[in-house]
């Protein structure tokens, strides 16, 4: 069953905000089309128009040459269009099996769901990703108990279980480790030969070049370019997206030997996932934390910030510290940019001003000096090049990259001396990423110390003085200088021993 879908001159407004002004996309059976664009460029809206979650205001959808109208996800599903949602369409309180087969449960006599068959069919699907799970993933596990990568895989399997003609993968690799991405790409290659059409939405340039046959670039709601992947280079693609040259050529922090004193000394740090971590960091250093997802990176940053309990000793500026509450960490000049922006980093429906000043209100007196607070927040916004309609707009009105600037801004307001960053560029567009890289380099030059976890290997290699690779709750390898290459980083992430370590 082949398919060809073409979206033409799509316009979509949310209230007064134009999400798409002229969106175009064409996809046919047996090919992977990468839908690319900076955050807020309309990628998600475009995929939601195709899968019926939002109804377009103007323009048209042609399916197999005939105009169609999707008023609900149900309409699109009927036509064989299925989606892996960026925000996941899973019900946390239900089991893996129930989630995957929701609406298509095999029924027995009297309309009773045949649970045995549901389980068996789920096991068949789980086998597609067999061997890539840290812990065995079972059909009767509750989705709320799964780690992010397994949730993501369940979401993928759910979309696949519809046996779609067109599969939309919206940031489907964001939570996956490299083995899981590899497996997904093998499956995508197989689906291509089965005449499925695939739309691949991603920020990761390397993945786009690995998997896509064609590309379609959105910028500010408008399709600005489309063509075959083989005819375009990474730099040209980036230029199309941001209209700004060479964003990836960020300068690496000067590689001179840092002779400043050690300011952070961690010994034998243990939590539920960490099994004895030792780290020492010099003042003004930008230390990268690498490794596959979920090897304890999050626990490391959270325990330093006093957010979770831990065992072990931490010395900061020569004094032993053991924070039991983030408040204590903040008093010592620590700041944490958490991994889940929407849930942990921001009060989404509150204003930019409130978010920016949340950790700092105490400095504005008992009766708040609002004018001063506004001024300070506005200055911080300007210095971070924050694009906003006004300080009183809710954070939810911002694109991902700008929302992340608010998270970073609210900590910079406090002049922290140690920054803990948990994958700060996840879901952030390339233009903003480049600004972050500059910012981090500048902060280090100012003498701030940064611990920087990233799921993007290129970032770690390009930006950090040295990278500590976590594997199974321990530091597997430390990479620095000439040994800090992407190949070594990937090898260490997978737990492979190699001679490049210092």
């Amino acid at each position: 069953m082949t398919l060809s879908l073409s979206a033409q001159n799509v316009v979509k407004r949310y209230g007064g905000v134009v999400a798409l002004s002229d969106g175009n996309l064409e996809v046919n059976s047996g090919e992977v089309v990468a839908l690319i664009g900076a955050n807020g460029s309309g990628k998600s809206t475009m995929s939601k128009v195709i899968n019926g979650v939002v109804v377009l205001d103007r323009g048209q959808l042609l399916l197999d040459g005939k105009p169609v109208q999707f008023n609900s996800p149900h309409d699109a599903k009927q036509m064989g269009i299925s989606t892996v949602f960026q925000e996941l369409s899973l019900v946390p309180q239900m089991t893996v099996a129930d989630n995957i087969w929701l609406t298509r449960e095999p029924l027995g006599p009297g309309g009773v769901v045949n649970r045995k068959m549901v389980t068996a069919k789920t096991e068949e699907l789980l086998a597609l990703f067999a061997g890539t799970f840290k812990i065995d993933l079972r059909p009767d596990a509750l989705v709320s108990e799964l780690p992010p990568d397994e949730k993501q895989i369940v979401e993928i399997l759910k979309a696949v279980s519809f046996n779609p003609r067109l599969l939309i993968l919206d940031e489907a690799t964001a939570s996956l480790d490299s083995r899981q991405v590899q497996r997904l790409f093998e499956l995508v290659a197989k689906w291509k030969t089965q005449d499925k059409a695939i739309v691949f939405v991603s920020h990761r340039m390397e993945e786009i070049f690995r998997i896509a046959d064609r590309y379609s670039v959105l910028r500010n709601g408008k399709t600005v370019g489309a063509g075959a992947m083989k005819d375009i280079t990474e730099n040209d693609l980036v230029r199309l997206m941001v209209d700004k040259e060479s964003v990836f050529s960020f300068s690496r922090a000067a590689a001179q030997q840092n002779q400043k004193p050690v300011c952070l000394e961690i010994k034998d740090l243990k939590t539920a996932t960490l099994r004895g971590v030792e780290i020492s960091v010099r003042e003004g250093e930008l230390v990268g934390i690498g490794g596959l997802q979920g090897q304890g990176q999050r626990d490391l940053l959270l325990s330093l910030f006093g957010d979770i309990s831990f065992a072990g000793s931490i010395q900061y500026n020569g004094k032993p510290v053991h924070f039991r509450h983030p408040r204590q960490a903040m008093k010592h000049g620590f700041a944490l940019v958490p991994g889940d922006r929407a849930r942990e980093g921001l009060l989404y429906i509150r204003s930019i001003l409130e978010n920016m000043q949340l950790p700092s209100w105490a400095r504005y007196g008992f009766l708040l000096k609002l004018g001063k607070a506004r001024q300070d927040a506005a200055n911080m916004g300007n210095s971070l090049n924050l694009k906003m309609a006004g300080l009183d707009e809710p954070v939810s009105s911002l694109s991902g990259g700008n929302a992340q600037k608010v998270v970073i801004g609210k900590w910079l307001m406090r002049q922290p001396s140690l920054l803990l960053l948990d994958d700060p560029t996840k879901g952030v567009d390339v233009g903003t990423k480049a600004e972050f890289y500059e910012l981090l380099t500048r902060l280090c030059e100012e003498g701030k110390t940064i611990l920087f976890y990233s799921s993007d290997d290129d970032e770690l290699v390009g930006l950090c003085d040295r990278v500590l690779v976590l594997h199974d709750g321990k530091i597997q390898t430390e990479l620095a200088g000439a040994a800090l290459t992407k190949e070594n980083l990937v090898a260490a992430s997978l737990g492979v021993e190699h001679g490049g370590a210092q």
């Binding site: 149900h74 369409s89 019900v91 946390p92 309180q93 609406t103 108990e145 000793s313």
Partner: protein
């Protein structure tokens, strides 16, 4: 390392807590009233508990689906006043069964009105049903402005004294309700209900008919409220437009002690049934312990608050002990 996870345990066995509470209430009640399990005592207890049990089951379905129904008491009152005025003390059994059918239709209609506003016009459940509760109580008062009327004694006695095989009638009703719930839970509709209550947006994106499912929960609740109204009318034998007013909050309380999350998507019907029985037993205990009625409400409220707070308190202790382990030597 497999850690004990209270939340996961509660998600998988939502009725566990209700069961513990029920056993506790039975034990205390038994100590105060040694003939608790005697046939007559059992029967007289269960026939009093049944109206709230039925109401809680309907409430549980709505709450599972992510809503709440504050208007159930009003529906009980409408049904009670319809039966008390239309059938009358001298009425025939035929008239009674006829108006039982009318009552059930009235319950479904009232539920459908709630469902229409909430599911199709997307109004807030708590505000909508609060508003319609006045509508329904007002309608009940319109039917029967002053307490009075009634149903034939023989029918009331049928409800009060029937005990096939020596077991109270209520046991059979509960068994039928549990059977029906088990069936619904096993169908696709059951999955839809949990999905909509758990995360409506995810359900919508998966092409679940979210609006229809939400609508249906209020219709079910209306129907169960009608059954509850029929039961309480047969119990009391008379009519009173205010009869349902105290029942709404009890139905919600029963659902909550029954382990059904107010946020929806977790729980079932067995827990709320146990919760409703527990509430009734607490009432018994209070009267047998000869607590001054002045204290009754306070004691009842305290027991409910403690029951509700227990999972949170257990969690709190768990966190504190974890923190202690994490301390350096």
């Amino acid at each position: 390392m497999k850690r004990f996870n209270l939340n996961a345990l509660m998600t998988r066995n939502p009725a566990l807590f209700a069961l513990i509470l029920l056993v506790l209430a039975i034990v205390v009640n038994y100590i105060l009233q040694p003939n608790l399990f005697a046939r007559d005592t059992l029967n007289s207890n269960m026939r009093v508990f049944l109206p709230i049990i039925l109401l809680s089951v309907g409430q549980a379905v709505v709450i599972l689906g992510g809503g709440i129904d504050i208007s159930v008491g009003g529906i009980v009152s409408i049904v009670n006043t319809i039966l008390a005025t239309r059938v009358g003390l001298e009425g025939s059994p035929e008239a009674m069964w006829q108006y039982v059918a009318v009552s059930l239709l009235a319950g479904v209609l009232a539920g459908a009105i709630n469902g229409f506003f909430i599911a199709y016009l997307r109004l807030q459940p708590i505000i909508t049903t609060y508003a319609t509760s006045f509508l329904y109580f007002g309608f009940a008062l319109f039917i029967l402005p002053n307490p009075g009327g009634g149903i034939p004694a023989q029918i009331a006695s049928l409800y009060r004294n029937t005990s096939p095989l020596g077991l109270p009638l209520a046991f059979y009703v509960i068994a039928i309700v549990l059977g029906a719930w088990w069936y619904i839970r096993s169908t696709r509709y059951g999955n839809y209900l949990f999905a909509v209550g758990g995360k409506a947006q995810a359900a919508y994106e998966t092409a679940v008919p979210v609006t229809l499912v939400q609508f249906s929960t209020y219709v079910i609740s209306g129907l169960m409220a009608a059954f509850s109204g029929i039961a309480i009318t047969m119990l009391s034998g008379s009519g009173n437009a205010e009869i349902g007013s105290a029942m709404t909050l009890n139905s919600i309380t029963a659902v909550v002690i029954g382990g059904t999350a107010m946020s929806g998507g977790v729980g079932g019907v067995a827990g709320p049934i146990m919760g409703a029985i527990t509430l009734g037993l607490i009432q018994n205990i209070i009267s047998f312990a000869q607590i001054n009625t002045w204290w009754e409400t306070l004691v009842k409220a305290l027991i409910i608050v403690i029951a509700l707070a227990t999972p949170g308190i257990i969690n709190l202790f768990k966190i504190t002990s974890q923190r202690a382990i994490g301390r350096p030597e």
